[in-house]
Symmetry: C2
Subunit: 461 residues, 2 copies
């Protein structure tokens, strides 16, 4: 540690300068692969910084795969370069327990967003104001979330998503899983359909809520209603605006069929509208919930893509018929979202910052989408066929070079690029033409071309 010296500049955040200093050490192997970093406490004392500053710097290094945290032991420098890569675990928790985490040069499987687009200064200003409200915001708020935020959400849904919601139908919660879990308990148990391929998470949440998830195929129009019919499910979780991971947008006739299925059997559709803000081409597709008479669809969405994953606010709209049951089950619960954040967000929306932010990032992500499609075709020609490119922060790409999906993933990994196979999202053994899913929300514009060049090196054989 003695050789670590640090002379901060006046006008950049300390943690960032420390991060760059440490990164420099790692790059020129002043800190060797496998070497243990000084404890945060020790380094803070050594450099006369706050533990938090050191913590933030270490976090950035971990986030970027230069360093790995080993529980009860400390922080270790990861081996650099791209040889002998193992795919990193799904989440930081597993990362702690898993093998040394390699540094991906480009990660198309992170599912993150470009956090630098977040209007932090505005958010900070508003939340400072909100905190000034003081005492009235420190005691317990409303069970469904404070009315100001439910009102803002209802207005947004009406104006931008064609969904119908009274503030009294809106439930605010700390993330989609929390709300989906609550929604699932409103159903009377039994089998609930999940899309296949689809989010593994959805299956897990339904199971935790005591339902038996039942995979139902997705075709080029979305979930197959005839198969759904046969499944005997009492409910279906769907992503009609932008099916995950196939990217399919459910067309009107299929929507009508699906709603008909729900009405006929007094069943429930849970509509997860997770990234509908990112509709790049053509007119926005209104939410399924808006087509419904209003009593068959539970509408669910989140701010984790439209704002940031670390801001744990999601919301759902319950049909009137389910409100009494929700009250009976959860009326005694406290809301899961801090009131400071609820009020900051409601003001952020009321003052129009949210709508502006969405418009801004939509056009930024649109041009990244364009760059990605262009770069892929440049690099791989006809071998790469991007599918369903009109919406959202991920894109399935069919690769026709003779490789299997697992060969595609492995050879990309060998080039330092992380991609996921479409098959990884399947519950059943069905297989289609080899397809990878590229989540590009976390990649900057400059990353995309070199990333595609590496993919070409990996896949052109």
């Amino acid at each position: 540690m003695h050789q670590l010296t640090f002379s901060p500049m006046p006008n950049a955040p300390l943690y960032r300068q420390l991060y760059e200093m440490l990164l420099g050490e790692i790059r020129r192997a002043g800190l060797a692969p496998g070497e243990r970093l000084p404890s945060r406490r020790a380094l803070a004392a050594h450099l006369g910084l706050s533990i938090n500053t050191v913590d933030s710097a270490y976090q950035m290094l971990v986030a970027e795969g230069y360093v790995q945290a080993v529980p009860k032991s400390g922080y270790y420098v990861c081996p650099q370069g791209v040889s002998g890569l193992v795919p990193p675990p799904e989440n930081p928790q597993q990362a702690e327990n898993g093998p040394l985490r390699p540094r991906w040069q480009y990660d198309f499987a992170g599912g993150g967003i470009d956090a630098s687009l977040f209007p932090l200064r505005t958010w900070e200003r508003i939340s400072r104001d909100v905190m000034r409200t003081g005492a009235p915001l420190l005691n317990q708020g409303e069970v469904q979330g404070d009315e100001c935020l439910r009102r803002a959400v209802a207005r947004y849904l009406h104006e931008y998503r064609g969904a119908r919601a009274q503030p009294s139908q809106v439930i605010i919660g700390a993330g989609s899983e929390t709300l989906l879990g609550m929604a699932a308990r409103l159903l009377d148990g039994g089998k609930a359909a999940v899309e296949d391929p689809g989010y593994a998470k959805t299956t897990g949440v339904l199971r935790n809520a005591g339902l038996s998830p039942c995979p139902v195929s997705v075709d080029k129009y979305g979930i197959c209603v005839d198969e759904l019919e046969r499944s005997g499910c009492c409910a279906a979780c769907v992503t009609p605006s932008h099916q995950f991971p196939t990217g399919v947008t459910m067309p009107a006739p299929r929507r009508a069929e699906l709603l008909q299925w729900a009405r006929a059997g007094a069943r429930t559709v849970i509509e997860d509208d997770y990234d509908s803000e990112f509709r790049f081409d053509g007119r926005p597709i209104p939410a399924l919930q808006g087509l419904d008479g209003g009593d068959r669809v539970i509408y669910l969405s989140t701010f984790s893509r439209s704002l940031a994953p670390a801001i744990r606010v999601a919301y759902m709209v319950l049909p009137e018929r389910l409100l009494p049951r929700w009250q009976a089950l959860y009326g005694e619960y406290a809301s899961t979202v801090s009131r400071f954040e609820q009020h900051t967000l409601s003001r952020f929306m009321e003052e129009g910052h949210f709508a502006r932010h969405i418009n801004r990032i939509r056009s930024i992500y649109r041009s990244r989408r364009d760059t990605l499609v262009y770069a892929l075709t440049q690099a791989l020609g006809k071998q790469a066929q991007p599918l369903c490119v009109h919406t959202g922060l991920h894109m399935p790409v069919r690769i026709d070079n003779g490789m299997t999906e697992s060969e595609l993933v492995a050879s990309a990994a060998a080039q330092g690029v992380r991609v996921r196979a479409l098959g990884a999202y399947r519950r059943t053994e069905k297989a289609g033409p080899p397809t990878v899913v590229l989540s590009y929300g976390g990649l900057t514009a400059d990353d995309i071309e070199p990333a595609c060049a590496l993919l070409a090196r990996a896949w052109k054989g």
Copy 2:
């Protein structure tokens, strides 16, 4: 509305001045009972204020029972005075649907805290710093909660609660219900014991998690282990430091019995340590979890009393044996607490503010406890017998004046004072000597004496 005029002073928050102006109108009936207040939007426009300012002012009026929100309609002035009071509903949500909410002069059943004691300026400063960290905190954090906070919690538990926890055993969550629900799903279903009398909420959460809650009596040492033995339960939820609502602190022999029960049958004890920070007399009682070998007790606690109910952070400590199952069930979930708040809190703890804050409010609440005991005895003499006064923000008081518990509650209500009967927390028909539970966390020092005077008027007959 035309008669509403508002000339703000420079150096007080706008919402507060607006609140006082409106309160003045209501007091001298310029706004008559039953009259509808202007919509927030309209009033904001009329007075040239932000909707948020008006919202905060209206909220304070609602919180204090001057005004009631009627969904899809607006805000109405409540009838003042104390005649014909009906007990208010448990939570604002129900309040919206319930009858016009009376204004309680004093509320011993709110269960809130004195929010004015919250070190808002420090919190605000730290959270401003934390937000400056920016990007690294905007993407998804660790599933169990970020390590910095888990570390701070583990250290706090070790130093102040005699509990044993590695950061890797700590789970951060948005409130006790969220975590208790997760904990309950770690058990293998079946019957779980709840204290009788006890928190209704606990029963509800367990039921929502698919367990069958089974009431087990509480005697003067806490939950009755012999009855527990006979109940055939696989788990027990207990509040050993300060049983709610009886206030009993479980003595060592009973703790040993309880742990023996758990070990013998490989059962689980869920220890809810909800307000153990408020131990006023004698030595602090270490957590049950610390006495355990470390694999039978799930430890659960919250910051909603020690900081503020609106800051939705709670934590639990899982035995090592349950971590893999937790990972299997929840490994894919995102943490339910905003990372800004996690990091603000961890710094708040690391820098010693939390310990200082706890010490400060403990002595403040201690003197309020003293005032309450003194005022009760002054006002009611031998008719009032405060029980278990050594810990926590509520106090059971036996009233020996010939009234039943419901008569006690009703006559107090008729004086504008809200109290709750001990029987209200019972699951079974058992009845003891008439006892009311006084939660005084939300009352200021000046409130206590006049409140007790009104109780005397109500109960001295």
